[in-house]
Symmetry: C2
Subunit: 200 residues, 2 copies
């Protein structure tokens, strides 16, 4: 047996270097050489852990999704137990938007990933599944809130779900500084307040 290294850890280190490159210089400059430079390793080293560029990108993307999930999970712990679904939705949206630096990197990653996925069947499938899962989670929350009387029963769960998920449309507005983070949060709060207004 040779020298022992934690493969998963090495791959995560490299993936994080990729995030930084994407965050600072954009998806197009996320080349093997640039990522290796950012990670402080040689091109050969990087190749040892990621044979292909596509493999690196998908791995980094999955890791970013996990990371976002972890941020949400951590945020949930800070809420009342059990948390009000309104607060859960607010937290999820807040973590998906580029409001803080860490979230910004993930946000830029997934934006570029989606764009690339449109023309690559394999990526498309994965990206589609991810989005579908996210939407399904929101829908579950909303249906449950309706059942529990926190949302008025005359609200259509599908439509309300879509409206919530669509609020990720704040991303370009935030990125190009058309609106400030507090404005995005205010709008989200307003929307959620109305959704949960008429009951509980």
């Amino acid at each position: 047996m040779p020298k022992l290294v934690d493969h998963q850890e090495r791959r995560e280190t490299i993936a994080r270097a990729l995030w930084r490159v994407v965050d600072q210089h954009g998806w197009t400059r996320a080349t093997m050489r640039e990522v290796a430079r950012e990670a402080g390793v040689s091109l050969g080293h990087l190749q040892h852990y990621f044979t292909s560029r596509t493999g690196l990108l998908t791995f980094a993307m999955e890791l970013a999704a996990e990371q976002t999930g972890d941020r949400v999970t951590r945020g949930l712990a800070a809420l009342d137990q059990p948390p009000h679904p309104r607060d859960v939705l607010r937290l999820v949206l807040a973590e998906m938007l580029p409001l803080r630096p860490e979230a910004r990197a993930s946000s830029r990653m997934s934006a570029a990933y989606v764009l690339e996925a449109l023309h690559d069947p394999a990526l498309r499938k994965q990206a589609g599944l991810g989005l579908r899962d996210g939407r399904a989670m929101v829908e579950r929350l909303i249906r449950q809130a309706i059942t529990q009387g926190q949302i008025a029963p005359d609200r259509d769960p599908d439509i309300e779900t879509d409206l919530i998920v669509a609020l990720t449309g704040f991303t370009p507005l935030l990125e190009l500084e058309v609106i400030e983070p507090h404005a995005a949060l205010a709008a989200i709060d307003q929307h959620l307040d109305r959704l949960f207004a008429e009951a509980s």
Copy 2:
């Protein structure tokens, strides 16, 4: 004087070829050679009308924005005169989302453009201005509707504007077929109905 050609027309033809490439194969494959091939001209020909790639991209982007504006203008003509602001907003949103093939190309163009703009000061300024203009137009509509009693006066115009603009967040959901066009339109209608519910 030499042979006479309409420069603007030639540039538009090439820009449209760029749209097709971006629409079908993605921003990354929108190279000078690929666009020339799609346009059915030589690389030299393309270079004669666009010295640099950046120039081509910005021109094509501006043209796409104009085109979207024209679609909205044409749609306005089909509405009641004067049109109800609710219908205007619905039309604008519908034309910005990738619901029909022509709109899809423009949508993909601007998505890629915004992503590229994040890391290029010049593009960033232009993209920011475009988005700001769009938001300002929506805000004007909403403030006017409040003044005219079509929207309840206790609604905050800034927040309502942001919520409307954020509905462009349906784009990735539509692109990855997480939701169907009719669902996006239903959600938009629901949101607008509520916004315009309490008056007029």
